[in-house]
Each structure stands twice: as structure tokens, then as C-alpha cells.
């Protein structure tokens, strides 16, 4: 191993590599291209991966929305087509009976799923806005970006059924003057005065949010619109490691048992399972990563084989030189390590240049896709993958170098010298 760190060894290697520059460059390009493709593919697929993640980052990935519909089967004395209503109390039952549920909150809305929206009035300005009755826990399931100075609905708002509201950006623009601070201001919602406590930035946190809406505490909603125990839908977040498909099934079956619905009735409760959608997309992204890994490694392999090929030719060209070296006292081991080190060195140089170029291209693509709506963020190649690729190259470089090296020592020095 000591010869690896010997300056002389490297001088010999540089000498023979520098001798034929064209050959060296062509050899290097083969591997360089391989690692370049590998890095770009791996980085791009990681970028897509990150892009998808970013699209979902504001909402718990294991979110499920569940709501009631009408029965499609007669059961327990009830006829078919019975209109179902989920109750606020169902949330507690669900949480108790489905342990995978981390958070659950009933939601009531006005003007979201049809029906008349609420009238929001401030002074002479007015418009109609959908209103949500939210529990504070909603903020834990879907990130609420509240502008400075403001806040989301909190526990005390809920307990005391305060008349406070969080409004959307568009709501603010429509009801307030441009340079007016909305926090602390009052708006009238369907004739009742509410104090604005926060303005939320629009993010696609539910399948149905907009930028022009109003959130009020659930308890306040209940009083205002007289919804009693009814709820429109549940927002549910399962634990990260839960099987979301199973959780959805469990939730539905619990709801069916509460509301005395036939266990096989598929139409009684509806649900939107974000976790399932997310898993499908991530599965696609993972597949892409895998494919890019395979393609990249195959390209590296092709490049390394190219190096072996060219070294084989070069050994043939240098038969005489190697013969001279051996006549002067080079042992077969020294000749062999000269060839192998050449191979490994060329592979490494090519690899490092390839990695740098690949990183450059990734950066360029990242800059170009920055402002367009494309799921592509922060394309990186994890360090272990880069090191892994380099290791693979060193190993392959050594292995492929063995062939020409063995050939070089298999020729007897006397035959090598005779060759004119």
C-alpha cells in the first residue's frame, strides 16, 4: 500500500498518462459522461421528489377528509336513501376506536359545498364569503400561514365561543383599505360583528380552500348558524407510520356502526384520502429514482469498460516499454500496479470532473425552473450516493485495470523486447 503514497509512483503514472494526451482525454470522457448522466439523473429525480414533497408540505400527508352521504342499502329497519348526518360527538368515538388517528376535528361550513355564502360587510364594502367553523387543532393538520401580528383561532376562542375571525388575503383586500391594518378591525358576518385576529395566506391545504374565505371558531359557528350537534365533515390526520388505506376503512366502518348503516354500504360515507394520493406520487418518484440509479450505474459501467478497452490497446502499444522496464528490474507486481493505478486514477479524475459538471447542470436546471410551476425543488444527490458511485468506480476501475495489467505481465520481457 505504501507505493500509493509514494511520489515516485505518481510521477511514473503522470509520465505515462501525459505521454498520450488524446488517448487520455478520450478515455476520461467515457467515464466522465457516465458519472455525469448518473449525477444529473439522480439529482433530477431527487428534485422531482422534493418538488412533490413541497407541494404537500403545508398539509399533513396522512390527511383524510370524511363526510356523510345517503345510504344505499336498507339496514336495521331503516329504508334505503336515508340522509345521514355526522355528529360532533362522532369525533370522540372515532378517536377512541381508531387508535391510528392523531388528530380529528369536525368542520362546519357555509357556502363551500353549495348553499348561500355568508355576507361579509365592513362599512360600505361587502361581498359574500364562504365561512368555516374551525377547531384550533386544524392548524396542526394543515399549516396556517398567518401574516405578522395575527394569529389563528385558539382554544379560548373556542371555549368562549368568541366572535373572532381569520380572513383570507382576498377578503382583506376587498373589505379593508390598502394600508389599513385589519388586525383588531371589525367585520360583519351575516349581521354579527366579528373581530379580525389574523389574515391567512392562501395555501392549498384542503382540496377546497380559497384565498377569499373566513374562519371562525367552531363553537361560534354553531351558535351563529344553529347547527347543533351536526358537522359537515371531519378533517383527520393519522400518525405518520399508519397505513392510511386501512385507517380510512376503519373510520368508515366505525361511522357505519354509529349511524346504523349496513357494513357493506359503500355509498353512505365519502372520504378523500390524501395519504393514498401522496403515496402513489411518492411511489412514482421512488420508481424514478430507482430507474435513474440503474441507468446511471449502467452508464458508469459502460464508461469504465471503455477505460479498460483503451488501456488494453495502450498495453499492447507499450509492450516494448514494459519489457524495458522489466529488463531494468521492474517486478511483475510493479508493472501491474502501474497499469491498475493508471486505470483507477483516470477513472477517479473522470468521476470527479463528471460530478462537478453534473452538479453544475443540476444547479442550472434548478435556476431555470425556479419561477415556473413545476414540481422541481433543490435537486441534490445525497453524499452517500456520490461516495458510493466513486467507490463503485474505483472498484470497477481496479477490476477492469486487472485485465490489461495481467496481459502486460503475461508477456515475457524477452518477447516484449524482441517486438519491433
Amino acid at each position: 500500500m505504501q507505493f500509493l503514497f509514494d511520489k515516485n509512483t505518481w510521477q511514473e503514472i503522470f509520465g505515462s498518462i501525459g505521454k498520450n494526451k488524446t488517448r487520455t482525454i478520450i478515455t476520461v470522457i467515457g467515464v466522465l459522461w457516465g458519472i455525469f448522466i448518473y449525477i444529473v439523473l439522480a439529482g433530477a429525480s431527487k428534485g422531482l421528489d422534493n418538488g412533490f414533497e413541497r407541494n404537500f408540505e403545508t398539509v399533513a400527508k396522512n390527511s383524510i377528509w370524511a363526510w356523510s352521504q345517503s345510504t344505499s342499502m336498507p339496514y336495521a329497519g331503516y329504508k334505503t336513501g336515508r340522509r345521514l348526518r355526522i355528529k360532533v360527538g362522532d369525533a370522540i368515538t372515532l378517536k377512541n376506536r381508531v387508535p391510528e388517528i392523531q388528530y380529528i376535528a369536525p368542520v362546519n361550513t357555509k357556502g363551500v359545498f353549495g348553499g348561500e355564502a355568508a355576507q361579509g360587510v365592513r362599512g360600505l364594502k361587502s361581498n359574500s364569503y364562504p365561512v368555516y367553523g374551525y377547531f384550533p387543532v386544524i392548524a396542526k393538520m394543515a399549516t396556517q400561514k398567518i401574516y405578522d401580528n395575527g394569529r389563528f383561532i385558539n382554544d379560548e376562542d373556542e371555549e368562549q365561543a368568541r366572535k373572532v375571525c381569520v380572513i383570507g388575503e382576498r377578503t382583506q383586500q376587498e373589505l379593508f383599505e390598502k394600508d389599513e391594518d385589519p388586525i383588531g378591525g371589525y367585520i360583519r358576518i351575516d349581521g354579527i360583528y366579528f373581530q379580525v385576529v389574523g389574515v391567512h395566506k392562501f395555501t392549498q391545504t384542503t382540496p377546497f380552500g380559497t384565498d377569499g374565505d373566513i374562519y371562525i371558531p367552531f363553537a361560534t359557528f354553531k351558535k351563529l348558524y344553529n347547527t347543533g350537534d351536526n358537522a359537515q365533515y371531519f378533517t383527520i390526520a393519522a400518525y405518520d407510520d399508519a397505513d392510511v388505506v386501512q385507517v380510512e376503512k376503519d373510520i368508515k366502518s366505525v361511522l357505519k356502526s354509529i349511524h346504523r348503516v349496513h357494513p357493506d354500504d359503500e355509498r353512505a360515507f365519502g372520504a378523500f384520502n390524501l395519504g393514498e394520493v401522496f403515496n402513489k406520487i411518492m411511489g412514482f418518484a421512488n420508481g424514478l429514482t430507482f430507474v435513474s440509479l440503474i441507468v446511471g450505474l449502467a452508464t458508469i459501467l459502460a464508461g469504465v469498460i471503455g477505460i479498460g478497452n483503451i488501456l488494453l490497446i495502450s498495453v499492447k502499444e507499450r509492450t516494448k516499454e514494459l519489457g524495458i522496464r522489466r529488463a531494468l528490474g521492474a517486478t511483475p507486481r510493479e508493472v501491474r500496479s502501474l497499469i491498475i493505478l493508471e486505470s483507477v486514477f483516470l477513472t477517479m479524475i473522470a468521476g470527479i470532473i463528471g460530478i462537478i459538471m453534473g452538479a453544475g447542470i443540476l444547479n442550472l436546471i434548478n435556476n431555470m425552473t425556479q419561477d415556473i410551476d413545476f414540481p422541481y425543488t433543490n435537486p441534490t444527490v445525497p453524499i452517500p450516493l456520490v461516495i458510493g458511485a466513486l467507490l463503485v468506480m474505483v472498484v470497477l476501475g481496479t477490476l477492469i485495470g486487472l485485465i490489461p495489467a495481467q496481459r502486460a505481465v503475461s508477456i515475457k520481457p524477452i518477447d516484449a523486447l524482441r517486438e519491433e
Binding site: 509520465g15 505515462s16 516494448k320 524495458i324 522496464r325 522489466r326 529488463a327 517486478t331 505481465v409 524477452i414
Partner: protein, 233 residues
């Protein structure tokens, strides 16, 4: 210095076997300058290759400075070549992408000598063959005689026990040949043992002893009165 007893060597050519050396007995003391003569096919190069451990004998004994040379693997042979022998070839066999200095220093590299020391020593030997000013030239920039002198310096640099020269003047015109032989004689005068394979009688006459080979056997072994090469230059 060199002891050879009943040396046999044959080459297989397909189903035929070509018996090249048919029992060579020969010994040579330190400081001798021996010419091995013979027409082509007489086995002189084969003999030299066996002496140079580039080839192996089928039968017989070879003792170099008291060390029996047999059953060598490639690594051991390489070490012996490096320590005991210096080679001078007809076609010079310099490495074409290395300068004269680097070529001369190469045997020392395989002795693991540090670079600085290596270059100093190589330069000293280049000076001895009169090529100090040419040390940084590539072989392609040197004349035939200069190349052969670089090769001689390279053979000398490791201070071997024996110098083996294979038709060292074969590629040179006669004036240059004599210059090179003059150098060989001077090296011999310093007490080095040198074996020269040649088929040119005038070159052979410049040695102290001539061995005539014919069809694989020594037909004549004579001591001659050395002709100094300087007389012909």
C-alpha cells in the same frame, strides 16, 4: 564472476523442437571484456538472454558471483536483473517519452531510491558518457551514438556486476561504433565485467577475449590482444 556448466536450451516450434544451445561450458572472471561471436542462429543471443535472466535454460548450471541462478520466479528475476545486471541493446530501448536523465534514473527507481538521489546519480553517469548537457532531451532529439551512450549510462547506473551488450553497435555507423567501444573499454578499464555479443570481427577484436559460437556449441575460446578503439577514431 560467471560460471556456466553444460547449458542446454531448445525452443518449441509447433511439433518441432529447435535445439539452440547444446551444452555450453564457460566461465568468466571479474574485469573481463568478452566478445561472444557467431553467425546468426548460432545461439549467441539466446546465451546472452539466459545470462541476463530474461530467458531460462532447460538444463545446466548458471552461477553469478557465487549465487546459483535457477528456479527464478519473475519477481526474483526482476530483482536480480536490477541488482546484478546492466543491459545494452542494439535498438537502444530507451523509453521515448522520458528524457535522457529519466531514462538513466529508471533502474534506480526500481531500487526505490529517492528521487533527488536518483537524479544526482543519473547525472553523474550521464556526465561519464559525456552527455551531461543533453540530460533533458528526449531520445528522439539524440543521435544514434548519443542514444547508445545514454543506454550505457543507464546500464551502469545501478552499478551492476556484469554489463551485457547485445549487438550494441549494430545500429551505428563505424565511427560512432568505435566511439561507443572506446567508452566500453574505458568502463572495462575501471574493472567492470562486460559481455559483448557481436558478429563484427573488428568490434570483437576490441575485447580481451573472444568466444566463437557455432550451432549451439563453443568452437573456439581465445584470448586476444586488445585493439584500442581510440586508435580508429
Amino acid at each position: 564472476m560467471i560460471e556456466i556448466k553444460d547449458l542446454h536450451k531448445s525452443y518449441k516450434m509447433g511439433s518441432n523442437s529447435l535445439h539452440v544451445l547444446k551444452g555450453i561450458n564457460f566461465s568468466c572472471k571479474e574485469g573481463e571484456l568478452v566478445a561472444i561471436m557467431g553467425s546468426s542462429g548460432s545461439g549467441k543471443s539466446t546465451l546472452l538472454n539466459i545470462l541476463g535472466m530474461l530467458d531460462e535454460a532447460d538444463e545446466g548450471e548458471y552461477i553469478l558471483d557465487g549465487i546459483p541462478i535457477k528456479n527464478l520466479n519473475e519477481t526474483k528475476a526482476a530483482n536480480y536483473r536490477n541488482k546484478f545486471l546492466g543491459f545494452i541493446f542494439q535498438s537502444f530501448n530507451l523509453i521515448n517519452y522520458k528524457t535522457a536523465l529519466e531514462n538513466v534514473a529508471l533502474p534506480l527507481y526500481y531500487q526505490k531510491m529517492p528521487r533527488k538521489q536518483r537524479q544526482e546519480k543519473a547525472l553523474k553517469y550521464l556526465e561519464q558518457v559525456g552527455l551531461k548537457e543533453w540530460s533533458h532531451h528526449l531520445p528522439s532529439e539524440l543521435s544514434g551514438g548519443q542514444k547508445q551512450r545514454v543506454a550505457i549510462a543507464r546500464a551502469m547506473v545501478a552499478e551492476p556486476k556484469v554489463l551485457l551488450a547485445d549487438e550494441l553497435t549494430g545500429a551505428l555507423d563505424s565511427t560512432t561504433s568505435y566511439e561507443v567501444m572506446d567508452l566500453i573499454q574505458k568502463i572495462n578499464d575501471q574493472g567492470n565485467t562486460i559481455l559483448v555479443v557481436t558478429h563484427e570481427p573488428d568490434i570483437a577484436q576490441m575485447c580481451k577475449r573472444i568466444i566463437h559460437l557455432k550451432d549451439g556449441v563453443i568452437v573456439k575460446d581465445e584470448k586476444v590482444k586488445q585493439v584500442r578503439a581510440t586508435a580508429n577514431v
